[in-house]
Structures are given as C-alpha cells and as structure tokens.
Amino acid sequence: MTRTLRPAEGSPGARIVGIGSAQPQRVVTNHELAERVDTNDEWIRRRVGIVTRRIAGPEQSLVDLASEAGGKAVADAGLSPSDIDTVLVATCTMPYSIPHSASQVAERIGITAPGAFDLNAACAGFCYGLATASDMIRSGSSGHVLVIGAEKLSDILDWDDRATSVIFGDGAGAAVVGPAAQPEIGPVAWGSAGDQYEVIRTTDRGHIFQEGQAVFRWATSKIGPFARRAVELAGLQPSDIDVLIPHQANLRIIEAIARQLRAAGARDDMVVADDIVDSGNTSSASIPLALDHMRAAGRVRSGDVMLLVGFGAGLTYAGQVALCP
C-alpha cells in the first residue's frame, strides 16, 4: 500500500536576521612570531597580508568561542534562545570527534533541545552552513537556524613551522537565519576538487599543513569563476555586488578574486573584506567574523548585497549572495 507523507511547510525565502562574533583577547604580532621562527613582519605582510592574529589560551575552548558568537547573534536578531530550533556549527578543529560541538554550544546559550550538528567543510564551512540553513528554512525543517563558524586553529599549529604558524588564528562568527517573504540568501554555488585532497591536510602529528603554492594557484584560478556563478544563480550581475567577503585565507588571494570580479564588471567601489590583516586566517569563522567587524565599522550596511565565498581543504568551496541584515 502506498502512503503519501505530509510535506513540511516552508517559507518562501530565508534571510540573515542577526550576526555576532567572538575572538580571544590575546593579540599575537608578527614580531612575536619572528622571535620563535625565522620570519619577519615585512615578509608576512607582503606574502600573506596578516599583521596580527588572535590566539586563545588553554582556558578558552572552541565551544567557548562558538557559544559567545552564537549568543551575540541571537541577541542581535532580537530573538531569545527559545526561538532557535536548530544549531549548526561549521568547524574542522574540534579537539575530539565525539561528541560534536553543536549540542554543547546550544546548551551554553540556553537553547533547549534544538536540532544540533557539526559540519566540516573546512574554510568553506560557513557558506555550506548558510546554504544548509537557508534550505532548511525554505523546506520547513526549521524556523530559525543558528549557524556558527568556529575554529581554534592554534590547537593544531606547529609553532616551529614558519610556513603555517604565521597564517592562522582563532575565532568564531555566527548568523541567525530565519524566514522571509522573499529570498535574501541566494542559491549556493558549490563544488569540490577531491583530486587535490592532499594539498591542505593534517600531518601524522596532527599539525595543519598546506602546499602553499598549489593552494594559491587553485584559489586564484578557480574561485573567481565560481564566485561569478553564485552571482548568476542569484539573478544578479557583478555590478550589483556592494560587498565582497571571501574567506580570509591570504590577502593576495582576496585581492586576486576582487580583481577578477572587477574585470567581469564588479564596481571599483565594491567593498572588499580585509579582516585577515587583524584576525589572521580563522578558517570557517573568517567570513562571519569579517562581516561582523565590517558592520561594526560601518563598512557594510543593512540591505547591502554581499557576495560570500568560502574555499579550502578538501578541496571544497561554496559561495552565495546574501543581503546584510
């Protein structure tokens, strides 16, 4: 006997309704790193674009950072924790794989018994999470989703490796996604390149490693075109983009993506996120962290058309257009 199941009732669109972020107190300068490994401030600024990064001590965990950012996003949305029914944490640096972080984060914020799961798409994690949240709202699986990108990369850094220790930082950024009469989060453009799975990975000793030149080549050749695809999917032109927020991997990669988009018609006055200068590369946290900092600085305003582009280990990538809350 065939049974027909009742479909969930979704919303015509989804939108970001609040954002928040959290960083450790401790600021680590290039000069401090140069005392330990053979590097210097000028080289790091020129090659990577980082001036400082935030590093958490042993007393501050990934769950702590995620909870602080998530709580702020819920408050920013003008909601109470009980309004959230799903918590999704994008991370690749939980210090253990069982249990995941999302349930603990929800408990910490005071969200009672939400759907909760972690998602690992490395530096593209926030964009994967945002796409998943948007689809959950539109399909009726959830009413309000708290999406958090949180990383404690300092846990997996080899502080004696000058190639990686200068790049990464710790932090968390979050967005609450809720229903909307019209979509304010565009369709996601995503994909992966599993043939290059080895170019960003952890070593046998558990330290993060990357083949810098291969990653740079991939990012500067493939990400611009797929970012344009995300714009197309939203039914927009590159000239419609007010704010470009790529994953804060390397300032040179960010500049290359911006240059390629401008060659395709994006405006000269398009604001381009450069939060990496102060925050370092925080993997899945970098996009919401940059967004929160840029909004606080008045560089992004409510209603702005933002292009979010995440890319990293896997290799995997995802991007979408979203309106600033």
Partner: protein, 80 residues
C-alpha cells in the same frame, strides 16, 4: 601568434597582476631581479597566461622562467 604578440599580451597581464608598467616588461628583464615580482605574483601571471594563451604552465616549469624572454619562448613553443 608571433613572439612580439605574445610579449604584448604577457606584458598586459604582468601590468594587471603586479602593477608593473607594461612598457618595462621587455624580453631581457628578470621577473624577480628587475621587475620585483615575487613567486605568488608569478603564479597569478601563469594562471592568467594559461587562460589567455591556452597553454599549461605547471609550477615546476614556472620556476624555470627567469626572464620575460624565457616566458615568451615557453608560451610560443607550447601554443596549440
């Protein structure tokens, strides 16, 4: 496409990527020593040259292209 045409197009790419005046991009110039172009910019130039000329310039080949003339010769030899 002759070497002169390749040089003209390559110089435009170098100007766009590295901000070096295209007129300064001549065959005898060393990318690193004369034009102050670092290895990351060389990768970007290679990526754009691959698109423009339809050739493959893998990282191990890229390391051998010391001068603008080396690059022009390599591109010319690998054009389809």
């Amino acid at each position: 496409m002759n070497n002169e045409d390749i040089l003209t197009d390559l110089a435009a790419i170098v100007e766009e990527v590295a901000g070096v005046d295209a007129a300064d991009v001549t065959a005898d110039k060393s990318f690193v020593d004369d034009l102050d172009i670092d290895s990351l910019s060389m990768v970007e130039i290679a990526v754009q040259a691959e698109d423009k000329f339809g050739v493959k310039i893998p990282d191990d080949q890229l390391a051998n292209l010391k001068t603008v003339g080396d690059a022009v010769k390599y591109i010319g030899a690998n054009l389809k």
